[in-house]
């Protein structure tokens, strides 16, 4: 299948910056896949995300959303409609005083007819499990709930790709779980392409593909189990690996599983 997002040898330096933030990134993202991008602060992962819907444009190289070149200004609206972004701080993304007004903000601006807005808002809120809260004031919700409202606001634009830039960094464990479960479900059940930028390794475990960024380049790319099994590389990058992988690695067992249950089964098997 043709990739939905494609990076071709992308370099990026901020206008007055000295340091190159992206140093020749090639990356193709398949439609309907769940891709996690892991890296420490300053690795370039957020800059990568901001290239996916033309918030930033490459200094050299190209980014395509389907066939659209993100550097083509006439296609900007189309690109933004196809690739929706959710950011770190839920409080900075909520604009209205009532949940459903907030979710309706984008389709209203796109000039969607009002009956259709109603349908889209209800559908989006149902998809993130916030329909019962549609008449609530956003500022009284928990962090995880606010972040799900922000996701609904993006879904109401009916995008093809959902890019989330550290959406759980400011949430407690419960809120983190809510957000990760929501985006996983959107991918698995609705076929949404999900790109999750994070520095929490445990959030990558359920992804189809894990891309590790370091100093503006991709240093590992594969299934989460494949990537985490490169324990030395991950340690060198200052990233954690799951305890399951670490234990299997040290016991000299195959590291193809990340799940606690199956890891325990493998160890028990070996001892039998």
């Amino acid at each position: 299948m043709d990739p939905i997002i494609r990076f071709e040898n992308v370099h990026f330096t901020y206008p007055e910056g000295e340091r190159e933030i992206l140093c020749g990134v090639d990356l193709s993202i398949a439609p309907g896949s769940f891709v996690a991008v892991l890296g420490h602060n300053g690795s370039g992962k957020s800059t990568l995300a901001k290239h996916m819907n033309a918030i930033l444009l490459p200094s050299s190289g190209k980014v395509f959303v389907r066939e659209l070149d993100t550097a083509d200004e006439t296609k900007l609206l189309d690109i933004r409609r196809r690739v929706g972004m959710v950011f770190q701080n839920p409080d900075n993304q909520i604009v209205a005083n009532v949940v459903e007004d907030d979710v309706a903000f984008a389709p209203e601006n796109l000039g969607v007819p009002s009956e259709e807005i109603r349908q889209r808002v209800d559908a989006a809120l149902r998809q993130v499990g916030m329909y019962e809260f549609r008449m609530h004031a956003p500022h009284l919700l928990s962090g995880g709930q606010k972040q799900r409202v922000a996701i609904a606001g993006v879904l109401a634009m009916e995008p093809e790709v959902l890019v989330l830039d550290e959406p759980t960094a400011m949430l407690d464990p419960q809120g983190r779980l809510e957000v990760i479960q929501t985006v996983t479900r959107l991918c698995r059940e609705k076929g949404m392409t999900v790109v999750l930028i994070t520095h929490h390794m445990e959030e990558c475990i359920g992804a189809d593909r894990l891309v590790v960024m370091s100093n503006g380049a991709i240093v590992a790319d594969g299934s989460p189990a494949e990537v985490f099994s490169q324990v030395e590389l991950m340690e060198r990058e200052g990233l954690d690996v799951p305890e399951t992988t670490r234990v299997l690695h040290e016991l000299g067992l195959p590291t193809e599983t990340l799940d606690t249950e199956s890891c325990a089964a493998l160890i028990a098997e070996k001892l039998r």
Partner: protein, 283 residues
């Protein structure tokens, strides 16, 4: 350096209104001088309400808080005095930086304590040393710095007051693994070198288990568990029951036991797990 004693502490928000809510109820505990304590619990379990009583930011609805034997709510003077003794670092403290230079921001607390110029200067440098902020940053605007640097400066601002008790609410929230390690190292170092009592509120079970001497688990406004990490993780089922995560090694140890492997004792670090696996002949 300072000890805390809490007796029958209860706090009710918006008492007498339809929004009345008991956040903590009848909590009694003591924290001896120099102890390193981790407070665990869900959002809404009462831990933040609890810590805000320890330096008189909140007044008990009933009950008493003693710091070094003195009732901190005895009068206006004691409420003021405790603020220099018990330093509280809130969540996302970097949002509270406001001065024009890093130096002025860190000096704000000591200045308000009425210290002389030289003393202030010395304390700012000392605090910078603890959190690894280089001297050349002192004249920069705090707003130009990275998230991790800002957080360390905010913590330095509290350390500069040389509190006998340092309390930090989620000090590593939102930082990447390297940033988390650095902050936790800074806190451990401050404690080691100053002898201060340190209390951290954390959602990170692995850190809490590895670094502290004592864990207090809050649930529904009360203390559900209280003991050494060794004691707490000897009963991981209770933590799961409360709905808290357990350290990854604890989870794996539980799964191995379910498979019938004789993994004994309290396991909450990677080294302990590997030791136990060695014991059953896995390596």
């Amino acid at each position: 350096m300072s000890e805390i004693r809490v007796e029958a502490l209860t706090h009710v928000y918006s008492a007498g209104t339809p929004f009345e809510k008991t956040a903590i109820e009848n909590i009694s505990l003591s924290i001896p001088s120099g102890q390193f304590v981790g407070l665990l619990g869900h959002t809404g379990s009462g831990k933040s309400t609890f810590i805000q009583h320890l330096n008189a930011l909140l007044k008990p609805s009933s009950g008493t808080v003693y710091v070094d034997g003195e009732d901190i709510n005895k009068d206006k003077k004691s409420r003021r005095a405790v603020k220099n003794k018990v330093g509280l670092v809130f969540q996302y403290p970097e949002y509270q930086l406001f001065e024009e230079t890093v130096f002025a921001d860190i000096a704000f607390g000591p200045k308000n304590m009425g210290l002389g110029k030289e003393e202030i200067e010395q304390r700012v440098r000392e605090a910078c040393g603890f959190v690894g902020v280089e001297e050349e940053l002192l004249q920069r605007s705090p707003l130009e710095l990275s998230g991790g640097q800002k957080r360390r400066i905010a913590i330095a601002g509290v350390i500069a007051m040389r509190p006998g008790v340092l309390i930090l609410d989620e000090p590593t929230a939102g930082l990447d693994p390297a940033g988390c390690r650095q902050i936790m190292d800074n806190i451990c170092r401050y404690r080691r070198e100053s002898g201060a009592t340190v209390i951290i509120v954390s959602h990170n079970m692995d850190d809490a288990a590895r670094l502290t001497e004592r864990l207090i688990v809050f649930n529904h406004g009360a203390v559900a568990m209280d003991g050494t990490p060794e004691q707490i993780f000897a009963q991981p089922e209770r933590l799961v029951e409360i709905g808290l995560n357990v350290p990854q090694s604890t989870a794996l140890a539980m799964a191995l036991r379910e498979k019938g492997l004789p993994i004994a004792g309290s396991i909450y670090t990677h080294a302990q797990l590997m030791q136990a696996l060695k014991g059953v002949g896995a390596c």
